[in-house]
Subunit: 351 residues, 4 copies
């Protein structure tokens, strides 16, 4: 079996689990008042080239929902893409933690939201009106849920529209490492230097084990987030074991090394697909995910071959590369696709 199902089916980086064992000595105050959590603040502040506050949390859903709940009132509207994970796959955690907060979708390409439709949507809601909730925040997914990555210009265009209306901006960085590796810039660039107030910093999908994080760039958010995290049961009493994981994740560039590895495999597959005219990508492959339109008979054939992947619809598949997916696995997938699609090219064109 060759597993392309998800980046959460994979192993953790051994460095991260070993860090847990190294952290297991002596006693330490609970709930984040320990030395590891203090060191975590320094590591991330250095990484982001500014003083940030980092809160480890158990999952990306917790990171997204609680970050958004900290940005505005329960009658707020949060603008996001139709395909954003918060809108499609998190059991409306954002609406729940936000006390009834509403997600409002904004159009854009490949899972992004675009500045112009956002501006138009906001123009339709007068400040002070009481019938439609009030614009509160925008949520961008840096490596989108269709595998594309925002350019810095795209982030800044959205940010400008949002800031002009006084909205806060959240970044869903479930695949922040993959996106940053792709952009090839400092983590500061797509985040606070582009107006991001708070982000979900994903680690699990990229070789992490049991924690992700919320990173706060705008200090006034910190206090109201902290108490909400405690109330949400997201503050481990033995926090050092979470902080140690995140330190190991970013130390010595491990996080970017892993992301570059999975990106490279995805790029290798995408490059190989260029020779298979009937294989159509739904979006450019800019991170570690490949959304590929395939006939369902091809899906069946791939599964028979031993490939594991998700069927997103009757004609859409998703293949995800992990940090430890090998070139051989990529090449095997390409070979299988070539094998199955070549003879089908003609009938498929007739679909």
């Amino acid at each position: 079996m060759i597993d392309f199902r998800s980046d959460n089916t994979g192993r953790a980086a051994p460095e991260i689990l070993e860090a847990l064992i190294r952290a297991n000595h002596g006693t330490a105050l609970g709930y984040g008042a320990d030395d590891y959590t203090a060191a975590l603040q320094r590591h991330f502040s250095e990484l982001f080239e500014t003083a940030v506050r980092v809160f480890p949390v158990a999952t990306g859903t917790a990171a997204n929902a609680l970050a958004l709940a900290s940005l505005g009132p329960s009658w707020g509207n949060v603008y996001c893409s139709e395909v954003a994970h918060i809108n499609t796959a998190e059991a409306n955690a954002t609406g729940f933690f936000g006390g009834g907060l509403k997600l409002v979708t904004v159009t854009g390409s490949h899972g992004k939201i675009a500045a112009d439709p956002l501006a138009e949507t906001l123009a339709g809601i007068s400040p002070g009106q009481i019938h439609r909730g009030q614009p509160s925040a925008v949520s961008l997914t840096l490596a989108t849920d269709l595998g594309a990555v925002y350019t810095l210009d795209e982030i800044r265009a959205v940010s400008e529209v949002a800031k002009a209306r006084g909205l806060k901006i959240h970044m869903d960085g479930a695949r922040f490492a993959n996106a940053t590796a792709r952009l090839g810039c400092s983590p500061a660039e797509p985040t606070w230097r582009s107006g991001i107030d708070i982000m979900s910093f994903g680690a699990t999908k990229n070789g992490g084990a049991l924690c992700d994080a919320i990173v706060v760039f705008t200090p006034e958010i910190t206090e109201i987030l902290a108490v909400q995290l405690r109330r949400a049961g997201q503050v481990w009493s033995k926090m050092r074991f979470a902080s140690a994981q995140l330190i190991a994740y970013v130390e010595n560039g491990l996080w970017l090394d892993m992301a570059r590895a999975s990106n490279a495999i995805a790029a290798r597959i995408a490059a190989g697909l260029r020779d298979i005219p009937s294989a159509r990508l739904l979006a450019p492959v800019e991170a570690n995910e490949i959304f590929l339109e395939l006939p369902s008979t091809t899906m069946d054939a791939l599964e028979t071959d031993g490939f594991q992947f998700y069927r997103r619809s009757r004609s859409l598949t998703r293949f995800v590369c992990r940090f430890d997916t090998t070139e051989a696995e990529a090449d095997a997938l390409l070979a299988a696709l070539r094998r199955h699609l070549a003879p089908m090219a003609t009938p498929r064109a007739a679909e």
Copy 2:
């Protein structure tokens, strides 16, 4: 420094962290659809001598609040002790996850709730009345927040009153291991055999690292709990790393060995206190916590000596024993107490 601050300041059992490393191979489906999580169900079902459903969660607060949210409607009243952790120290997570659910306190000794006042309280709320919410559930803390442990008879008396009114029963088992070790009975006895529908199964305070669990005894709760856990961001995508910890925790009786160790240290201190007439215990020492009334000058003196502990008020201290607290540490504390209290016995009597 000798640390009696909390059982959450301590190390994790090495067996638990090693289990993480052993689980780190191959790929596995996310969100609990993996082999470790399946094995966890078997381990706990064996432990409890009945088919149970176990959900690993990040913290005891999450376990308590989400277990209670699964037991009744948002307009429900949950009855608990005034000093219950859910009422005093979890940022009203229960009220939040319960959608406005209300905690109503019931009297009892040493952090327990007693059957008679519960019955009286319930008698005051007619079924169908709409002004006061509706009785929904009872929450018992097996090893209470004052260090005592319910007898089986006490649990069953409360349970009988609750069941007569159709209420569900939750057990906060933050120190379930310590209480079970004390009771010396099967884990089934104080739980489902006494009418408990759902419990928070604590591991962190007793040598765990990053997860506790919810154990469901009443099957119809399972489905509504599962979706609420997902929404709460309490379902790890790489769940195997949580399940592996909990398996290691209960395998070979590790959990009870650790609990017996911390209980024994607490009992050793309690026994030693009998010779110090001016040291007054707030409640019997039946688990691993000691609540001791002390003059604040004695508290100061202990701190100068290098002891770490919590001041619960100007005249109340808490000392907590961990699985790795040593007899020497216990004896050092007793010696210090003898030293400081002997000359103060007379003035203190005059307080």
Copy 3:
């Protein structure tokens, strides 16, 4: 000034206010335990030809949100039209009262939802999955937010799909009188005989003053609705004054007389528009609302003439007829439209 802004800008029927004065004698138990509220149950049960439970509430928003909150869990998805009032104009009251419940839109024509896209949406959510919430209810707006009215067949087609999946069905009857007058059938037909479990029974827009109602057809909903209404501050202590209004509203067919009057005026305008080719209706005029696409210069001109109406966008207007809107007012509007649109027909075609 001639007011076509809304049916809530109008007067109340004098009969309704006089009923208040007649109810003002003696004492009566509070919170609905009075004779008027008992009589209300009988009046509505007769009207609907089945035993129903009626709860007066202050507003249609309260009726919608609390009816929907009574139909399912806080992690439920409620399916509605994109233009449904609950989705566009009630400050996400449904999400709030539903504890984070999510509105999911389903396509259809003229503000309706259609059975096929509903079936397709539901097919995409497996029972028991935890990531996307769970299908919980459908909300239909009988006289839609674009002025059309569901046929009985259309309701039943949607209902059949919903029931097959075990979903409950809510009807937003903000303009139930207008729709019922249009359908020319018993109120039982579009409601419980078509599978509706609960409805918002609007009165305010059709000559009411200070209350609407929730009508429950499926008895098991009653108890959980009652306590939620109390908690929502929607249970008047002097309930007789609300019940008396609703009795007067339906007594002697007053409600249908008023609805027929406003429908007739709207139909008169719609008929007149047929002679004005450049005036394009967004949807068929089947109740008392007219959605008319107009150039903004025509809107300006109408306002200068003294007509009041809402601009829904730069090219869309809404004209609403009240029970006391006169034929002369309708004819004046038509005359003005003819006057302004005739010379503009050509340039508008070039838009």
Copy 4:
């Protein structure tokens, strides 16, 4: 039958219902953008001798819960008396609208909260701690739920403690008229001049019909309250009919005339009780409620005589005087009490 059950069992003042009829002409913009609602602001600003913002709402429960929800975050603690209506009789509406907000009780005499225990409670919660929620607001009930009335000094003492900690202060004025009549001062004195930020202004219990109000003294609250009221379904579209009631209520001192009348009847009964040594009042009679400890046999006898009242426990009754309760009714009650209690004085002493 002579009805002392509640002040909500009574009639409305005819002036209030007549005002509805007078307001029923012409068209008016909805949701409070009408002339009556504008006039209401002026009436109340004059009454309170400062610019206030008044929001009519359907019920006192809505007023209390939404006022408190506007004062602080969902993780806030609101301090109130154990017997406060918000804590005992409103289905935890405050917890619900507050998104999980917690009521924490503070001791005091006769349904009041006292400054010293409040200060002590607050001292126990450090700013910035995350485990116990955060102090957010205080709620005082001016005419308490045991029939007493705060003195201005008592309010100011509580207010001083609250303000020192940065807490907002809410007044439950369900019987504000009775309390103001008792205090004999300007409505400004016990409210904003004593530090109150927002109040529930009750009308229903004192001759109102279908609305109470929230009065905002601290302007920055207004905007976040307005949208929450809309979301709560508490903003009538035909608001003029609510505003007209409240204008009639305060115009020409009607509200205080009615309150003085009910207070006088209660005082007459209290005075008469002085001659009945075995009739023990639970609290001083300072408004229109009488809490009287009586043997249950006496309760039975009074009911046989045709008196209606509430039994609050096996030994406690409540008698409430309405604006139209007559002196003859009061005297009949006293006569009956004398008749039943005289022979029972001795056995009761033996209870």
